[in-house]
């Protein structure tokens, strides 16, 4: 059987990869890709703890479902913002988007 440590180390690695993407990428869509990787790593942790520590209480899976919903909402609004900024400013490089009103 697989010990829980494998899942925890895997999700830590996936989380830090996502964090690197968020910190190092220029493009706003690429930053959102990094955020998605981080949310997925958190989900793996939630489900692993549900399966290994409290398999009788379903709370871990419920929390993961809520994270799915929040991720979908975040991506929808985030990509709408990116498209809106692209129409007005013709750029989606995060460093160049530094004005509140154009």
């Amino acid at each position: 059987m697989i010990p829980i440590s494998w899942y925890l180390v895997f999700s830590a690695a996936l989380f830090t990869i996502g964090l690197f993407g968020v910190l190092a990428r220029k493009n706003a869509v690429a930053i959102l890709i990094g955020v998605e990787l981080m949310l997925n790593a958190a989900n793996v942790n939630l489900v692993a703890f549900w399966r290994y520590v409290t398999p009788d209480a379903i709370g871990g899976q419920v929390f993961a479902v809520i994270v799915f919903a929040v991720a979908a909402a975040e991506v929808a609004v985030g990509l709408a913002l990116i498209i809106s900024i692209y129409r007005r400013r013709n750029t989606i490089v995060a460093e160049e988007i530094d004005m509140l009103k154009y």
Binding site: M1, I2, P3, I4, S5, W6, Y7, L8, V9, F10, A12, A13, L14, F15, T16, I17, L19, F20, G21, L23, A24, R25, K26, N27, V29, A30, I33, E36, L37, N40, V44, V47, A48, W50, R51, V53, P55, I58, Q61, V62, V65, I66, F68, A69, A71, A72, A73, V75, A76, V77, L79, A80, L81, I82, I83, S84, Y86, I92, V93, E95
Partner: protein
Amino acid sequence: MTGIQIIFIIVAVVTLGAGLMSVITRNLVHAALWLVLALLGVAIFFVLLNASFLAVAQVVIYIGAIAILMIFTIMLTRRVAVGSADSQLNANWGWAAFIAVALFAGLVWLLSGWNGFNITAQQMSPRTDTIRQLGTALVSPSAYVIPFEVASILLLAALVGAIVVAWDRKS
């Protein structure tokens, strides 16, 4: 080493490699496709963890909706997303890599101090129906109906908000 451990290692290596490619590759369309592979790997982990509903939801929501939405956005903003010849990483990527590695080392160090670090899962009886348990818990007033309703309101607000924000007023 049992067969399931070999499967775990193969899927973990593929998922982490795809995740790494999705944050460093220069072409953003390729980055989104690598993200799809990483999300698929996470779905396989949900299967290994007996969370069958989450595995299906991962494929339908993440790969079917979120990744496709990202590919659409990348193609709508294609001139700046793909055309530039210079690197897609900003000037501080060295610091970002340092912070990521340091955080990984810190997380592993912190987790290895936990005394349940090497526990294995109890065998789940084949009669346990986790999908039924999950469905009941999501709508039962004594369990998680309030977070479920709040999530539905959040999704509605995000739907309306996305349409309002992305609306092209000029045309």
